[in-house]
Assembly symmetry: C2
Homo-oligomer: 310 residues x 2
Amino acid sequence: MNQSSVLIVGSVAYDDLEMPSGTFENVVGGAATYASIAASLFCPVRLVGVIGEDFPNVVIDDLVKRGVDTAGLERAKGKTFRWRGRYSKDLTSRETLDTQLNVFADFRPKIPEAFKSSPYVLLGNIHPALQLEVLAQIHKPKLVVADTMNFWITGEPKLLGEVMKKVDLLVINDEEARELTGIHNLVKAAQDIRKRGPSRLIVKRGEHGALYFDDAGTFYAPAYPLEDVVDPTGAGDSFAGGLMGYITRLDSLEHPAMRKAIYFGSALGSFCVEGIGPRRLLEVTQGDLKKRIEQFLSLVETGGPVGLPL
Amino acid sequence: MNQSSVLIVGSVAYDDLEMPSGTFENVVGGAATYASIAASLFCPVRLVGVIGEDFPNVVIDDLVKRGVDTAGLERAKGKTFRWRGRYSKDLTSRETLDTQLNVFADFRPKIPEAFKSSPYVLLGNIHPALQLEVLAQIHKPKLVVADTMNFWITGEPKLLGEVMKKVDLLVINDEEARELTGIHNLVKAAQDIRKRGPSRLIVKRGEHGALYFDDAGTFYAPAYPLEDVVDPTGAGDSFAGGLMGYITRLDSLEHPAMRKAIYFGSALGSFCVEGIGPRRLLEVTQGDLKKRIEQFLSLVETGGPVGLPL
């Protein structure tokens, strides 16, 4: 049987991270990088993005070894996209110090012919016009997921509306959901968003877990309460990648596939924050994953039926 | 078989609530009131508190009808404790506009003889010196729970330390846990708190649910994502009351009794916020409760085993 693949389109970057524990420069980052690493634990990955002349072949080789097809990773003249950020002492907020788009400024995603029939598609946080270009190039995917859209809610509301009509699952955080709809109550905001196109919606709440809304109802998955959070960079991307990887591997959208996938996404997000950049994520074994999923499940395990005592 | 009772000690009050939906004055409130109403859905309640001459008998009669023994509800000369608060538009924060301690200023809890052997004890957010006085009056309870202590963390740290040594379960919110320990990470803060006395700890996180720590590990129960939140006043007290009522009814501390109790506490908290003051809470039927618990469980139901697909 042919194993399904996931197509991941988004940024590949260098991050300079000013953490309370020290400054880490030239850390390999980018949404598509984190998502690809996470998804590759489950299924073959097709990566579409752009890098500059400065991006090392060894990193690409490592991705290839993990089962990431980099035929869509274009190497352009110039420097790789670079982001510099500073985290607060408690790691709950961060400030962008510098963004150098570099080769990412002129990025026009070209989907290789062999990628066009990918059944599962993850659109990273790129300009909605580019997201529409990607969707125009691919053939009848089973599931199109868009992840995060902070910049475009006020900047490109009309194009974003077009994208949303074509998206099956939208993955955003609570602030985005509120900003997009102007509704504070997340249950009502979710109803509003689902009317705009995506029949499925995940609202990420960082250390508070994730809410999932679909026709079967509302689902809640906690974030794993970690003792040592080192670097939250890429946690959301790892969540989306893990989720998509699991769904692609399962090759099913039957209820409750997505509920289970959210646990795997959360597990990958929880690994991601345990190391600087993608360091810990890259080391995750199937054994680690199994153990973390068990920990997640024990977190919500009531240990027997919760019946009324009356 | 004799049904176990829970002893609840705390404030009985009048609240003046300035809500986005309007101002509501002379609303019956107080931590012990909310907790007693919630607990009385499960078991007989013994209430210890103080009211002024202005407090209506009809409210007391209603509590008695619910199975609340008000023999420990002292009527003192003067006016009932009164709190006036204003909520933010999204109901996520509130500001105290006025606090009139009135008869609560001289409150010295006197535990009626018949209450002294209560196996389950809930100490509301009263001065730690008074909490110690309560504990000195009662005989070998099976479980002593203290709920919330915001004012005393900086004001009475030494006395609070004494209380904590005698408490089996501490119920506080995440801010209190961080302030008490000076540790931001909740997993580490929980370890620190559990070394100070309470072998069990619940960290309430409002709309983000509750974390529970004991020797069996960490447990997480979500808050129910409600469409219509009307008034958060008393939600934490209803949580504590529902939890204690359930445990008292079960009369067991065996794992996983507490995990289940947290669901019932969360359910009562979720009802509480659906009406102004205790209005909705007072109307909750066994049928409502059963339905809400089912909704809670479906929220974390993965719909089958979450196994690795590999």
